[in-house]
Symmetry: C2
Subunit: 584 residues, 2 copies
């Protein structure tokens, strides 16, 4: 195999062009073996292999700087740049990471920043009066993100060398949405010749490569733009899932896959074995839609976040809109829908919702429009990679005026909150969907009405110490109460605060009569977090407060249980701490 | 005058088309009289009058819904919809406001959300099976914002009635930047016929109106699209400043103006009479650029925020980039520049920086690239209108890992921090530029090195109570110390924390020996703010903490002194509070 001899782009360059297609196919084999075993992104990587091989053949990385947008498509780049074995053995991140290699310039998790960042690299190069190629590699749905447009719109200001490779695989995570993709189609159908050209409309030079999986054609194209003296878009037409039939036939499922059988493409474990909040929510929403034609669900490129399979999408019809990778649009759209009197529910991963901070504040909450936002994969049980950090949603959402951010502790409470939030017309409401699996508390009778804001629920009345356990960490709170009882006999109070956007001053005041310590448990960072609201409230009083949660840091490739233990967030550790505090 | 008889769009409709141009001119006179007296947006409003008159003549507001993007261009709309006298007497907001009129659907301050919000109104209408026109009125530079693109890109999904009026006045606040504006020019030059058409590239129908200040032509165009069964862009070519020569000749200066003499266009008060952080920063940066060819300044449509007049921009050459209204691009661009080893300084108003929350976190801080961000107009002395709320920057910036957010208390400290932040290579650094005018403390010897993070500076050592006074509120802290001494003889400690991204644990621990109370004074909202970090730190200890700052709310059209008094943030009130707390 060639690939075993390739430990750097220099090794690749020794081969004749005619042999590169074999290298591409070998890389695809490696990718398939790895992702079928460990899980990971499949389709985007298989389709991008040939272009990456050609880029490294033509350009001189890392002097020439290649920046991969939504870098989960860059597996071939990792394999070529000396990380083959680490990749095979799952010892490198799925994303580009400067700490791994000088060939990586940024940690790229969220989509769409590559063009703006490359403008920075290019202008920096010019100010330093140096020479090198700067290449942005963007695709897989990222063009619909506003940041990609803002970058493209400003590329003309660079005026010197910059190459934007648009990897057009005709898909995002699910189908592409957005008028721009109709233009890409017209460009493909006209062999790049269609006069109405999105990139030219942004004052950019343009080149089309009809077969973006033909390494020789790509080498020829890249050679023709190497050292170019102005910005150019190289639009390459690639096939998502290239070389693997199951991924071609089911592009959405194979965007990212759990471990699967290489021969059949079937997952090694049945993913539907457990119920999830996504599938439960999808079923709930589709049933409600039948009763209420004014209920509408929105997603931004990840319909499966609310369990909207292709079948459910079809069933929902006009009551479902996927806006593509466009979280700003999604929030403003939801606000407009709510203003018009219908019932929008936007489902989104927490890490991506931070792209809409201004829209949440200005477009939604300042208007006080009653849209509902379901926030998935937050906290330690979210996505365990710094590129998709999940620890910041409470900070983002809980201090915006008018917002009501709810944190259910179990399935029963989640659906009660969801039902209320859709029915009410008073507030924008976000729900922090638990990320640690569906926990049922069968005898839990949740409230049906949450309009009396910021009322905590006392789950168990004790004395001396009260534990305020937020959402996902409610079960940790229960465990702490038990451990404390076992260790010291102390009968702690346990509180489910339910609301992350305010404190229950009445209950906090009542606690003062027979408690001296309040503990907050929060599945997010403590600085600027929910617990500090409690500390701030009790600041002038005698009550002691200790905030538990995570440190303000970007945590990379962690195991939840290990991070929890390392942060001292175990029942035993916290119970021991409480005993010490009470003894003071 | 016609306009005195027009108290609603119905009154306007009674006139023959031929008389509308007179109405337009009368409205322009009213606008000029009002803004010359009170100050306000000038150019964008004068240019948009004719289109707004035509819209109200053709459509039936509020059944037909007109949404003004960056609604400071909507003065004519306010005048026509029953708010003429309130407008003349400066009793209405500069922005659309649903509380003022059923003809206003959203409070629109930040640019670019109108299209997405109109998509919501349109889809909501369709789900309700109702009929009306939905019209987004967008222009004045707003198309360069990523959110506007995301919206445009998704309009095709609506499939039914929606009209997007693109008010192309060839300017943003300063010159337009962005390749898209080259396409608008080509469209103007070809009378809308140029094949390469940005809007058509997004799969949208398109119509061009060559003279967007000709009311009759506009009426004809709008009549032709009224009740259209699919989305369409109506591109109208208008003149910013129409009808007022000084505003036409100096479009940037008359985007927004302080009160001015109508005859000459000269400001009634010399705006350069006082030094400002903007002009001082501009002078500093341009001098530094001469010494350091790798220093580069960035703005996003507001070059004057860093005092970059047209002359300074010219002088800076390639060392200055205005990216237009594109705050996401600006942050990612700065990150790329810093990565390439040059020294980017991005100047931005705090209210607009919240459009870049994800970019600050993912694109800049996660990469830990040493870009510098100067944050202007924050807190109570910022922009006193809810549409441009300024109270949320500490919440946004202070909890992002790796970020260093500095709050200087005087001119001397500001420049010391600025110099250090540009020279250092360790951190992304943001500086909260004081918003209450340039205060000098001549005998203040600021540190030159801020790399030992989170070290507070004790300005005066006292006992019993320590006052931690943040940035703009440092002078309030001084006044509280004095008032307390005068009232009670208590000699308070005064601390300038300098860093908003962490606490000085050593100093906080030392305070415990001879203090029982710590007061934080913060020019931002307390919930999730800086003071709560102090409360959180002292939570488990005996120290009492009281956080002073503003409430979590959107505050509209306030006077700073009144809001400060109403919130109890005066020296006397706080000194009285402290005396009570100490007596407990």
């Amino acid at each position: 195999m060639y690939i075993e001899q390739i430990n750097s782009p220099q090794d690749l360059k020794k081969l004749p062009v005619a042999d590169l297609q074999v290298v591409s196919d070998e890389i695809r084999t490696i990718i398939l073996e790895k992702v079928s075993k460990y899980g990971g992104h499949v389709g985007p990587d298989l389709g991008a292999v040939d272009a990456i091989v050609a880029l490294h053949y033509v350009f001189d990385s890392p002097v020439d700087q290649i920046v991969f947008d939504v870098s989960h498509q860059a597996f071939a780049h990792k394999i070529i740049t000396g990380r083959r074995d680490a990749f095979i053995n799952n010892r490198v991140s799925e994303y580009t990471a400067p700490k791994e290699s000088p060939h990586d310039f940024f940690i790229m998790g969220h989509t769409s920043p590559s063009i703006s960042m490359c403008c920075g690299l290019a202008r920096g190069r010019d100010l330093k009066q140096e020479k090198n190629n700067v290449i942005a590699f963007i695709g897989d749905g990222a063009l619909s993100g506003g940041e990609a447009f803002e970058g493209l719109d400003n590329v003309y200001q660079i005026g010197t060398n910059m190459i934007i490779v648009v990897n057009d695989n005709q898909w995002a995570i699910a189908e592409n949405h957005g008028g721009i993709y109709s233009n890409l189609r017209k460009l493909r159908e006209s062999d790049g010749k269609c006069e109405c050209n999105y990139f030219k409309a942004l004052d950019l030079d343009y080149m089309y490569v009809a077969d973006g999986n033909d390494v020789e054609a790509l080498v020829k194209a890249f050679r023709s733009v190497k050292d170019i003296d102005h910005p150019i878009v190289v639009h390459i037409n690639t096939q998502k899932g290239k070389g693997y039939l199951p991924a071609i036939e089911n592009e959405e499922k194979f965007h990212y896959s759990v471990p699967f059988d290489l021969k059949t493409g079937l997952p090694l474990k049945d993913p539907d074995r457990f119920e999830s909040y996504s599938t439960l929510t999808g079923k709930y929403l589709i049933d409600e839609m039948k009763k209420n034609p004014e209920l509408i669900a929105i997603t931004s490129a990840t319909p499966m976040v609310i369990g909207f399979t292709p079948d459910l999408r079809k069933e929902a019809g006009a009551q479902f809109v996927d806006v593509g990778i466009a979280e700003e649009d999604a929030v403003a759209f939801a606000s407009g829908l709510a203003k018009r009197g219908v019932r929008p529910v936007y489902g989104v991963y927490g890490t991506f919702l931070q792209r809409s901070f201004d829209q949440l504040s200005e477009d939604l909450c300042m208007q006080n429009n009653p849209a509902v936002i379901l926030v998935y994969l937050t906290g330690v049980y979210g996505i365990p990679d710094q590129s998709h950090q999940c620890f910041f949603d409470i900070i983002e959402l809980s201090d915006i005026p008018n917002m009501v951010y709810l944190a259910p502790v179990c399935k029963e409470e989640y659906f009660a909150m969801l039902e209320w939030s859709i029915a009410q017309r008073e507030h924008p409401v976000a729900i922090r969907v638990p990320s640690h699996g569906v926990k049922s508390i069968p005898d839990y009778l949740p409230q049906t009405d949450y309009s009396d804001l910021n009322r905590f629920r006392m789950m168990k009345k004790g004395s001396q110490v009260a534990i305020i356990a937020v959402g996902t960490f409610y079960q940790l709170g229960e465990a702490v109460v038990k451990a404390l009882k076992d260790k010291s006999g102390v009968d702690a109070t346990l509180i489910n605060p339910r609301y992350l956007t305010g404190v229950d001053e009445k209950m906090l005041d009542e606690l003062k009569s027979d408690h001296k310590l309040v503990i907050t448990l929060e599945d997010g960072i403590t600085e600027g977090g929910y617990g500090e609201k409690i500390a701030g409230y009790y600041g002038p009083m005698d009550m002691k407060v200790v905030n538990y949660g995570f440190k303000k840091e970007f945590v990379d490739q962690y195991k939840p249980s290990e991070l929890i233990a390392a942060t001292g967030l175990t029942d035993v550790q916290i119970a021991d701490d409480i005993i010490k505090y009470l003894a003071k």
